[in-house]
C-alpha cells in the first residue's frame, strides 16, 4: 500500500543553526572569475608582449610576473581539482573523505612543483626542491 506517512527530511535540523551552503560550489564560481583575470594576464604576458622564449624566461625573473604566475597556478590548481572532485563525487556514494585528502595533497604537490619551476627561473638554477 502506498502509504505516505509524513516523510521527514534526511538531514538533522537540530544541530546546524544556519542552512548549509556548499563552499566548493561558491569558491568554484569565485575562483573561476579570478582565473579569468589571471588567465587574461598570463596570455597577454606570454603571447602578446613579446613571445620569444628567452624573453619570457628572463621576464620571469621579475617579481611582478612571478607573482602573477604563482597566483594563476594556485587558482587554476584549485579550480581544476575542485572541478575534478565534483565529477568524482557524483559517482562516489556518500562523502568520500579520502578523496578530499588525496586531491588536497595532489593540489599542494602541484603548486609546490610549479613554484619550484618558477623559482628555478628566478635563481638561474635547475631545481630547488626536486
Amino acid at each position: 500500500m502506498a502509504t505516505p506517512s509524513p516523510v521527514k527530511p534526511e538531514v538533522s535540523t537540530a544541530r546546524s543553526s544556519t542552512p548549509p551552503v556548499s563552499w566548493a560550489w561558491i569558491l568554484q564560481r569565485f575562483s573561476g572569475l579570478l582565473l579569468l583575470v589571471f588567465l587574461a594576464g598570463h596570455l597577454w604576458v606570454e603571447h602578446f608582449m613579446n613571445a620569444r622564449v628567452d624573453v619570457i624566461a628572463s621576464r620571469l625573473t621579475h617579481g611582478i610576473y612571478d607573482t602573477l604566475d604563482i597566483g594563476l597556478l594556485i587558482v587554476v590548481v584549485y579550480h581544476g581539482l575542485n572541478g575534478l572532485r565534483g565529477i568524482l563525487k557524483e559517482t562516489l556514494e556518500g562523502r568520500a573523505v579520502w578523496l578530499d585528502y588525496t586531491l588536497s595533497c595532489l593540489g599542494i604537490v602541484t603548486v609546490v612543483w610549479g613554484v619550484d619551476i618558477l623559482w628555478a627561473f628566478w635563481y638561474h638554477r635547475p631545481f630547488l626542491i626536486f
Binding site: 573561476g32 588567465l39 596570455l43 622564449v53 624566461a57 581544476g80 575534478l84 612543483w113 638561474h124
Partner: protein
C-alpha cells in the same frame, strides 16, 4: 530511441570535457617546463624556442585557446544563470557564447597568421 538531450546538457559536457582537458594540459605544461630545466640547468632557451615556434605548436596553442574559451564562456553563462538571468533564453545564451568564442579564435588565428605561414 536514445533520449534527445537538450542544448544545456550538451553544453554541460563540453564544459566538463574542456575543463578536464585544461587540467591535463596544466600537468603537461609543468612536465614540459621541468623537462627543459632538468637536463641543462643552463637555461639555453634557444633550443626550446626552435621547437615551440614550429607551426604545429602554434596550431596546438590555438586549439588550447579554443578549449579554454569554451570553458570560460560557458562558465560565464552559468554564472549569469546563477543570478537568474538568461534562463528562458538559455538556447540563445549558448549560441551567443559560441559565437563570441568563434570570433575570438578567429582574431587569434589572424594574429598568429605570420608565425604560421612564415
Amino acid at each position: 530511441m536514445p533520449h534527445k538531450h537538450t542544448r544545456g546538457y550538451k553544453a554541460f559536457w563540453a564544459h566538463r570535457v574542456s575543463g578536464l582537458l585544461i587540467l591535463g594540459y596544466l600537468y603537461l605544461h609543468l612536465c614540459l617546463l621541468s623537462a627543459v630545466l632538468l637536463p641543462s640547468g643552463s637555461h639555453d632557451f634557444n633550443a626550446v624556442a626552435k621547437v615551440v615556434e614550429q607551426p604545429i605548436f602554434i596550431v596546438a596553442d590555438l586549439v588550447l585557446f579554443a578549449i579554454i574559451l569554451v570553458h570560460v564562456l560557458n562558465g560565464l553563462r552559468l554564472i549569469v544563470a546563477d543570478f537568474g538571468w538568461m534562463i528562458r533564453e538559455n538556447r540563445f545564451a549558448i549560441w551567443l557564447s559560441m559565437a563570441v568564442g568563434a570570433i575570438m579564435v578567429l582574431i587569434a588565428v589572424l594574429t598568429l597568421m605570420p608565425h604560421l605561414v612564415g
